[in-house]
Every structure is written in structure tokens, then in C-alpha cells.
């Protein structure tokens, strides 16, 4: 019996971006800008003038618009990778719960409550 598998490139998982070669190519400039934020001086330069900082990394129109609007899903659609976007989020004073709330459209309290709804602590120590 044959098992037919969906080819990975066409497989979709609802609500779940797959950061693959397509996204990596599209997002290179945006992710390069975010990678530069590992340096405090670069973070300060971005804060001082976002537009000219985006020029340095030749961001696409779509990427600039998403950054201007603080539109996290838009940044991901434009090829942003969340590990790199987290560095930008830090500049904007957003943590990963804030990012989650922005992407799911929930108020932050509701997003946190969703995480807490899984609350469990299980511990085992061998004798």
C-alpha cells in the first residue's frame, strides 16, 4: 500500500509560518536589519531615524510598511523570521507575549490566560 505524503513545500499548517527558502530569500534584508540590532549602537541608530536605517538595508516597500505599522504578521509575510524580529520587538519594548497578542489579535491578558490554561507541573524523581 502506498502512503501519499504532501510535499513539504506545499504543506500548510494553519496559523503557522514555515520559514523556508522562499521566506529566507524574501526576508533577507529585513532579517539582516534585525540581526544588526545585536549591537546597541545600531539599535540607537534605528531609534534615532527609522527610515534612514531601513534604507541602509534596502527593505522592500512591503517590509517598510509592516515595520512602520508595527504589524508583526505583516513582517512575517514579508519574510521576517521571528527570532530576528524579536530583536526589533525588544527595541519597541515588546516581549514574546506582546508579539503573541499582536499576532492573534487578543488583548495581552487574554493571550496570557491562554498560556495559563495549560498550567501543569509534573515531577518525578527516581528512587
Amino acid at each position: 500500500m502506498f502512503v501519499i505524503r504532501t510535499h513539504s513545500a506545499t504543506r500548510t499548517i494553519p496559523g503557522t509560518p514555515i520559514f523556508d527558502g522562499r521566506a529566507a530569500q524574501k526576508g533577507l534584508g529585513l532579517n539582516a536589519m534585525c540581526y544588526s540590532f545585536n549591537s546597541a549602537a545600531n539599535r540607537a541608530a534605528f531609534v534615532a531615524n527609522e527610515e534612514s536605517y531601513m534604507d541602509r538595508f534596502a527593505l522592500s516597500h512591503q517590509q517598510r510598511e509592516a515595520v512602520r505599522r508595527r504589524d508583526v504578521l505583516g513582517m512575517i509575510e514579508a519574510g521576517g523570521n521571528v527570532y530576528y524580529l524579536a530583536k526589533l520587538a525588544g527595541i519597541l519594548g515588546l516581549n514574546v507575549q506582546d508579539l503573541g497578542a499582536l499576532q492573534t489579535g487578543m488583548p495581552i491578558e487574554e493571550f496570557r490566560a491562554g498560556l495559563l490554561s495549560h498550567s501543569i507541573t509534573e515531577r518525578s524523581i527516581a528512587s
Binding site: S8, R11, I13, P14, G15, T16, P17, I18, F19, D20, G21, A24, G27, L28, N31, A32, C34, Y35, F37, N38, S39, A40, R43, V72, L73, I76, N81, V82, Y83, Y84, L85, A86, K87, A89, G90, N95, V96, Q97, L99, G100, Q103, T104, G105, F111, G114, L115, L116, H118, S119, I120, T121, E122, R123, S124, I125, A126
Partner: protein
Amino acid sequence: MSEIIGAVFTSHVPGIGAAIAKGLQQDPYWKPFFDGFAPVHAFLEREKPDVAVVFYNDHGLNFFLDKMPTFAIGAAPEYRHEDEGWGIGGFKPFAGHPALSWHIIEQVVGDEFDPVTCQSMLVDHGVCVPFELCWPTAEAWPVKLVPICINTVQHPLPSPKRCLDLGRSIGRALESWPGDETIVVLGTGGLSHQLDGERAGFINVEYDKFCLRNIVSDPEALTQHDTLDIVELAGSQGVEILNWLAARGALRGSVRELAHNYHVPISNTAAATLLVENRPKVSA
């Protein structure tokens, strides 16, 4: 002759590093996670390993997407942390073990793996947070570091089977190392979590329990899923279980779980700690 004493598996959420810096270990939010390390501390105090071989993923500190290795092995005399963009820091530097690193590289390339070799390498929270958790009172790290970095960031990722096989190859290298060091293996990251997309906040307790139930006694069970299956089951960043699988592969002796702690949530993550003992197999 070297001795591989076992492995510590743990989540490496950056917020844990921030909580340590603020001394929040007994805070009600953090306590159930930090308390899970008591058996780990007792084990490390008793066994006093000399070397830690750490399987982790880089989150954009040492590697950028312009050059993204599937597997990278550190072979540096020293490693350090640097600013990752949002301020956690103050992590102590690490002494490397280049001779053991190159012995591992010889073994894995002999086994037909093709890793990138790094004589200079920054290590991010994927290494630093687990070290802080394992040796919280150390003034300087009591072990030398061999970092093994696995791409869990940019698809296509290496398959679960490939990661397990890499770990097994590294386990063979550790067993054939002629030095007399005792070695502990670390696997970091996970368990289920997702930071991006409309499904951000996804946690799957059932899949996490499947991993915790099987990784010690039957790691092959985790290879029934491909990487995209794992993304679906564990969340996009839950694929860090690949680091655990590789670390598990490095234990080739007689293994036994000594302790585990599973606590949800820590930040956006289902946090887990697992301690596994490894003893030489008894030969006939």
C-alpha cells in the same frame, strides 16, 4: 578512558536568564521550574563532569541567514556570549576543548556527516541559560564546552533521524576519546512552543508527554514524525526537540531516567527538565 555520565535536557527560554539575573527563583511564577533542578544539581555535584557537550540551536547571534549551517561544531579554545539584541547578558565565558572537538569532527566526518567547523564561535542563550541552570553558584564554569549547533531555524531542517544519528556518531567519538575526562551531554530548547503566526501561544501537553515518555527508552519513537509533523505537533519553535534527540543519541550505554520536571507555562513555552544517567553496557 573517558566516561559519559549522562545528560541534562532543559528548556533555554531567554526569560529564564532574566529571572536568574533578578533572583526570581523562588518567585511563585518561576519556582516550579527552578525547583526541578535540585536532582540535576545533586547529580552534577556527585559526578563532577569535566566537559559538557551541548546540543543547541543558535537564534541569530553567531550565525546569520546568509550562511546557515545545518550542523556546526565548535572547535574554539574559548567561547563567549554577546548582546543578542534585547539586553540579557553578563554570562560568564566558556573554556573550550579543541582537541576533543577535533576528535568529534574526525569521527562524524568519518561517519559521513558534513558539519561546519568553527574555531571562533559566539554562543547564545541556548548554551548560556542551561549552564546557569546547571551550575547556579559557580564563579567560573567547572566544565569545558564543546558546542554542537543544529539548524532548527531555517527549513529544511535536518530530519529527526539524522539528528539522532548525529548524536550517536558523537557518542561513539566520546567513547573513543583517549582522555580520562568525565563528560556530561546537554540537550537544550523546547518543549512545545510557538512564537509566530496566528497560532502563536500554541502548546501541546500531549505531544510533550509523548516525548518525555519515550526519549529515554525509545528515542526512535520520536523519529516517526518528520520535521513539519513536529512543527504541527510541537509548534514552530518546538522543533528544538531535535537538539534533545541528538543529545539522547550521544548516550550509547545503559540509560535510566533519574528525574524529570515538566512545567507549563514559562513565558510562551512548555518548560521541561530531564536528567538521564548513562552507564557502560555490560559485555558478555
